[in-house]
Structures are given as C-alpha cells and as structure tokens.
Amino acid sequence: MPCAPLTRGLSSVARKALMALTGLVLVGFVLGHMSGNLLFFRGPEALDAYAKWLHDLGPLLWAARVTLLVAVAIHIWVGISLAAENRAARAGGPEVAATRRASLASRAMPHTGVVILGFIAFHLLHFTFRAVNPEVAAAGDAGRVHDMIRLGFADPLVSAFYIVAMALLCLHLSHGVSSMFQTLGLRNERWRGPLDLAAAAYGWVIFLGFASIPLAVLVGIPPFPALAK
C-alpha cells in the first residue's frame, strides 16, 4: 500500500530493503565517526590534526556528506511511511495486548529514530554550524576542535542529552543491525542468535565510545591542558 508520493510503486519488501541499505550506510558512518572521535583521548594535537585532515579532504568530504544526507533522508522518509502504514494495518490491535517475543528495541524503532533525528539536528547546530554557543563557535572556527568539544560539553544538560541520545541510538541499532540482515534475506534461525548478539555488541560499543567523551569532560578525567584562550 504505497502512500508516500516519493516511494509510490515500491513494494513493502523493496522499501524495507531501502531501510536496510540506508541503515547500513549509517551504521558504517557511525562506527567511523566514533573511532575518529576517540582521538579526543589522545589530546588536543591528535584530534585537531585529525579534524584538519578531514577538512582538507575537500570534495571527498563533501561526497561523504551528501551520501550521508541522502541516506538519512531516505531512511527517515521510508521509515515514517512504513510506520504510518503499519499503524493503519494493525487497526488498533486486540483490546488485551500481549507480546511474546518482540523486543523493546524492535517496538521502539520509530520512537528512538525520531529522538535520533532531533539529536542529529542539535548536534549539527552545536558542532558543525556552531550556532548554539559563541565560545564553542570561536574555538571551532580557530581549528581548536579539542577545546571546542570540552567547551561544548561543559554544560551538564548538553552532555546528558548527548549521553541519552547515544543510549537510544544503541537501542535502535541493537534491533536494526540484525534486522538489516533479515530484511536483505541474509539470516536464518542458525544465524539469528549470533547476529542479535553482534547487533547488541555493536550498539554497546557505539554507546560506550560516544558517551565516554561527554562523560570524560564532565568528570575531568583524564586531565587535559588548560583551554587555549
């Protein structure tokens, strides 16, 4: 029952495959992004040099950005159209609700997805467009990325939001990464257990990797050199 104009004519299975393939692009990106970010713990020089290297990629960086933007747009668009159709197809469900197996993560996919979308918007305003805080903007514009991150996470509310958003991303991925294989027809009962485990492990790695940075800034461990003024 295709309803969204952009995906009219694409079957349920084809649109699910689009979800899985765009999800895969995001899964790859998230892992790369997290690994790069962990240079934070190597100190200001390492991280600032990495940021400069990324920016100097020029057209390659833009190609990656456009790919990500397109993937996110398709993922959200198709995700919302599928979720809306599924609500209608269920017709309210039984008066007595019972669940035997569907995991919390699987049932919360649209909800965790929407919070992640909100997070992506805030995150881009915060560190990419630097429109949230002038101090953060000044450090970022001067190429002092390590300082920018420390200033950005100095506010416990902001740090808490990052940590909660990453926890929800972990939940999204703990279903999504295994679901992706099923959607593409690359799973069976023999591999479902190991893939579910791998998805959960991937989710936890992403969560711990990302959340460690705001957490480190909040508790001041490890101690880094004073912010350059």
């Binding site: 209608a88 035997r100 479902r192």
Partner: protein
C-alpha cells in the same frame, strides 16, 4: 465429549467468566460478559464456546459466530485471540487443539477476533480472510500441462530440500501470524507459500514471477510491512520460522534485480 485426562473417571470442571466480542459487519463491536458454571477441563476451547452458545440459545439469546471446521488442527479455520494471543496461551497449537485444562478455575478469559485491517470482522469472532486467497491466487500454484501424471522419479528432489519445502507447507493459512503482528503483516504466511513452492523443481520455473506477484497481492490486500518483530513465529501454530521471511526477501529482491537486467529480446530502441 472425550474424557482424556479425567482423574478418577470424572472431569474436573472450571467456573469461567468470558468476555466475548460481539459485532455485526460494518458496525462497531463491544465485549459481552457471560459466565459458564461447569466447563470440563477436557473440553477444547471450541467445545467450551459450544457450551456457551448452547447456554445462550437455551436462554433465547443469540449465539456467537466463530469459524471452525476440522477441529483437529489442520484446516486453519479456527481463529480466536484469547487473552491477547492468537490461538491462546499455548505455543504451537490451534484454538481447536487448545484444551481448557490450560486455564484456571475462576479465570476471566477475553475472546476477540483476529485484529487487522486486512481481516475485517464478518460477525463476532469470524473475520474475512480473503486477503490470503488473493495472495494465493497471485502465485500460490504451479503451471503444468494437465493429463496423466509424470513418473514421480523423473523429478529428483534432494531430501533436505523436500524436508524444508514440507516444513513450509505445514502452514495452514490460519492468519495467526497477521493477528499477532504489531504491523498486521502477512510475511510469515506469504513467506511460507513462496518457500514451499520456490524450493521444489515444480515451482522453480515460476519462482521470480511468484515472489513478485505474491508480494504485490499482499501489499494490495492491505497487510502491513514486516519490521522483524518475530511475534509471528512465536504464535504460529505450525512452527513456521522467520527463515521463510528471509527467503521471501531474498527471492523477491533477487527477482527484481534479475527483472531489471532481463533481456527484452529486441535491440535497443531508436538505434542499431
């Protein structure tokens, strides 16, 4: 009534409160509450419903409509959502094979029809499952020349393939997968049919066309999209697994890819 597990030759009985869905086609429905004073524990769930209906008829009231046929777990007609679970609390059984010994004395049991947009209520607990028929009409068959049957041994089928096809062919088309799915998706049913036929040499020549046509019919009938909850497998009375859904996804996506690059049999348009 058979006395299968009657201790001391007598059936234990249960006193039950039943909340049963009452609905006329096209009108809103509601639960009606009734009590049954003595339900034998050896009665099947459908026999318990028979007792309720007899009690209603004796009181000059209207009995509840519900689907049933074989009452031995093979036809796929019985279809009740019992305390929120299609075919009730016991995994791997149909409603007709669920016995009252699985309930407690004094229990309140809620009985609803399958709930899904693609399965509109005809009356009370009976729903219209013709959406499944449309899916079957689209590809749940093989095309063969009629006439005398060919010698069976001319078509070798490896044992593991025959086993897997038979596992999928166990699907009785009851619709519990749709009713249990929080998306109202029919992927377990469609996957079972596609797997059963596409695995076998008789079905293989039409495998691509079948996968595409059955998915289209499934979407057109108003079923939802699978998000891999896995509820269907946990409620299917025949133990059909998510493997058939993976197979359906694989066959469908492969068919679309092959279709995309298939030869048209003609030179390209407007050129040499």
């Amino acid at each position: 009534m058979v006395k299968e597990n009657a201790p001391g030759g007598h059936d234990a009985t249960l006193r039950l409160t039943l909340r049963v869905w009452r609905q006329r086609r096209g009108q809103p429905g509601a639960f009606e509450e009734h009590t049954l004073a003595a339900v034998p524990t050896s009665a099947s769930f459908l026999e318990m419903m028979d007792l309720l209906n007899e009690q209603l008829v004796r009181a000059g009231k209207e009995p509840f409509a519900f689907d049933h046929d074989c009452r031995e777990g093979i036809c796929g007609m019985c279809s009740m959502t019992i305390n929120g679970m299609p075919h009730g609390p016991l995994p791997g059984v149909t409603t007709c094979q669920l016995h009252m010994r699985n309930f407690r004395d004094g229990e309140t049991i809620t009985v609803e029809p399958w709930r899904a947009r693609a399965f509109p209520v005809l009356r009370d607990l009976a729903v219209d499952r013709s959406g499944f028929d449309k899916v079957i009409q689209a590809g749940g068959f093989i095309s063969v020349r009629t006439g005398s049957a060919p010698e069976a041994n001319t078509l070798p089928v490896p044992k593991p393939v025959a086993d897997a096809a038979m596992d999928a062919a166990e699907c009785i088309g009851c619709g519990a997968c749709v009713a249990s799915c929080k998306n109202g998706s029919a992927m377990l049913f469609v996957g079972a049919k596609v797997t059963h036929l596409n695995l076998l040499p008789q079905g293989a020549p039409e495998a691509d066309r079948r996968a595409v046509a059955m998915v289209r019919a499934m979407d057109d009938a108003g079923f939802g999209n699978c998000t891999n909850y896995g509820e269907c497998q946990a409620h299917c009375p025949k133990g059909i697994t998510l493997d058939v859904i993976a197979r359906l996804n694989r066959d469908y996506l492969g068919a679309r890819l092959r279709g995309f690059f298939a030869s048209t049999g003609k030179p390209r348009r407007g050129g040499d």
